[in-house]
Subunit: 386 residues, 2 copies
């Protein structure tokens, strides 16, 4: 881990925001230049280039939208989804539900393709739905609540055959689990800064390729949203072009912090970072299995950046979580909605995909669940040696 120390308190091991590296926090507090200062527009250009690396894309329209989680998908919907579009939505958790709800609000004709919470959606069902006429396929790459990663194989190809756009929400996976936007024929991807990228929340990175932009250019009437209008936003992020205009005041401090966080991602190198998250996930899974916590996701469907486990029968879920927070200074996440009381979610994102915070978590869990911490810590150590 090259990113500096995890702050001692609180240890955030829920579903985000992730802890920040010291150098990222320092950028937040530094005196900020004016948005039109060349020193800042250079940072904007570099941020775009670094984001392209993270998405593994060459798409020009790659930038952080000013907003938090959901703002990226809202931008995609506002610009690439027309009222009446047939939109196939993969739904297997709360992020899929949010996606489908946002599409319905926008006036899309939504076809839901579902899987039980805790499983990935069958690829053949998604391909079949796309084949029956489709303008947009939208799927969630990583569901934080269930810890499941949705395979994407063949979906880009199926969309090309139907002249549909392929949209992926990679909020939980960007910088933590393999995704190559251009190779996987993703037309638009949306994410967040506060998960695996290790930047503060408040920005929503997006990338949109030529097929998506052509749909926007063909539009007869302007989109309903001024704030999320990509034409206006792109005029602000013009890669140093002469025509840069201010669509809105950029959140200067957040962009400076994201720039530094992306530089750390770049320095570690994306494949190394993906592998670190894989190792960290596997080690934590093995360690918590020793104290009786079983992963929801089956092998091959696991989302590396989070570990969602079943709460053992007879456990006072809230009491354990409260003691983790008050006694051990560790924040974990409860399952949302129908998973409340039945699931715990542990972060394996960015700085927390590392041995030291996992040792704290594993020791605390063992203590609170009545196991010998030594056994679980031995399993963790073994996992990190593997």
């Amino acid at each position: 881990m090259s990113e500096g120390a995890v702050p001692a308190e609180p240890l955030l091991l829920g579903t985000g925001p992730s802890p920040l590296a010291d150098s990222v926090r320092e950028r937040l507090a530094a005196p900020a230049p004016s948005p039109m200062d060349p020193a800042f527009t250079t940072v904007m250009d570099e941020t775009q280039a670094l984001l392209r690396d993270a998405f593994a894309t060459r798409a020009r329209a790659t930038l952080p939208v000013t907003g938090s989680s959901g703002a990226g998908m809202e931008t995609v919907i506002a610009n690439f989804v027309d009222p009446g579009d047939r939109v196939v939505c993969g739904v297997a958790g709360p992020l899929g539900e949010r996606l489908a709800a946002a599409m319905v609000r926008a006036g899309a004709d939504v076809i839901r393709v579902e899987a039980p919470w805790g499983r990935a959606i069958a690829l053949e069902e998604l391909v079949e739905a796309v084949g029956k006429q489709c303008d947009v396929l939208a799927v969630v790459h990583g569901e934080h609540a269930t810890g499941v990663c949705q395979p994407l194989d063949g979906l880009g190809e199926a969309c090309r055959e139907q002249e549909a756009l392929f949209v992926v929400d990679c909020g939980l996976t960007l910088g933590g689990q393999p995704l190559r936007v251009d190779e996987q024929l993703v037309d638009a991807a949306v994410s967040v800064t506060h998960a695996c990228l290790g930047a503060p929340p408040g920005l929503a990175p997006i990338t949109a390729g030529d097929r998506a932009l052509r749909k926007l250019e063909r539009r007869v009437r302007p989109g309903r949203s001024w704030y999320f209008d990509l034409i206006g936003i792109l005029a602000q992020w013009t890669d140093g072009g002469p025509g840069r205009t201010l669509h809105h005041t950029p959140p200067v401090q957040l962009i400076l912090a994201l720039h530094e966080a992306l530089r750390l991602v770049h320095d570690e190198w994306l494949p190394t970072r993906w592998e670190r998250h894989r190792r960290a996930h596997a080690a934590l899974r093995d360690a918590v299995a020793v104290v009786g916590l079983e992963r929801l996701a089956p092998d091959g469907e696991e989302l590396r950046p989070v570990l969602a486990v079943r709460v053992p029968d007879g456990t006072d879920e809230q009491a354990v979580r409260r003691r983790l927070r008050t006694v051990h200074g560790i924040e974990i996440a409860p399952g949302p909605g129908p998973l409340a009381g039945r699931v715990w979610i542990f972060s394996v994102m960015g700085l927390t995909a590392a041995r030291e915070p996992q040792e704290r978590l594993v020791a605390a869990l063992a203590t609170e669940l009545g196991h010998d911490p030594a056994d679980a810590l031995a399993a963790l150590a073994e996992g990190w040696r593997a």
Copy 2:
């Protein structure tokens, strides 16, 4: 001025973002709690209470929307403006143009009431337009580009008669020039954090009263926007109620910084702060008059938090602005759009509504425009004594 020192470099005297007090910057860099941590939800509740003070309202629905400039108006439009609504828009500058454009995008039937850039809109014209059937009246309180403040007298009453909503964009005035939302019968007001409040950009404070919320409740179909859905956002900001749910990941660092900035506003006391901005504006106006810079706004229409002046004939506008930046370390703003090359805009917002930064600006302007700095500085000193 109780807010700490202006950072030495760069001195931001354009139209924002404003410099931050040291204590605000420290909050940005401190380790942040989890969004559901009681320590953070207390900060959320206090932020709402402090924002109500700043808006001079008791409205429950007062909170910072996650987004930058324009996000507040987009929230108002998404929730309180229905397609086909007759919306009277006051337009006398770029913010008014943006407002009208956003309303048109949302499907409103927009009736523009205009004034030449550099003047306020005649109140009787606005009242007359509202009287001819109107669902929403939307005006900009302060146009930064022209330095004009729009009087609001009687507009709230006119809206009540028509059962129309009265919407005010007070981005430039909140915390800097008198506005009392409840007394002035404003149904919804939207602002920014990075002007007179002295917080970083990335949040957009809004307040909405009962008449606006009733219109939302009467809606038959949900609004088009998931991200700006006020029902979802209010569920996150429930004033400590038991049912708090996470609509989206809050920008924790920005909220902590806004909380501190609002505490400073509260400590200074709003009427004192308004008076400080009045004095600072008048002193700077008198001082720059000595070096031949005349204010655009006539007396009685001035926007205290900015001073927009005519560039003297024969001045190389860009060269002076560049030398201010490179030689003197001072950033001022050029006029946007049709005002380019003809107008300079000086910040009188928050920390910059103070004598020390004004001395730096006035001395630099005098030097660059070929005047004796001593005369202008004497006028500035005289203005601050008044």
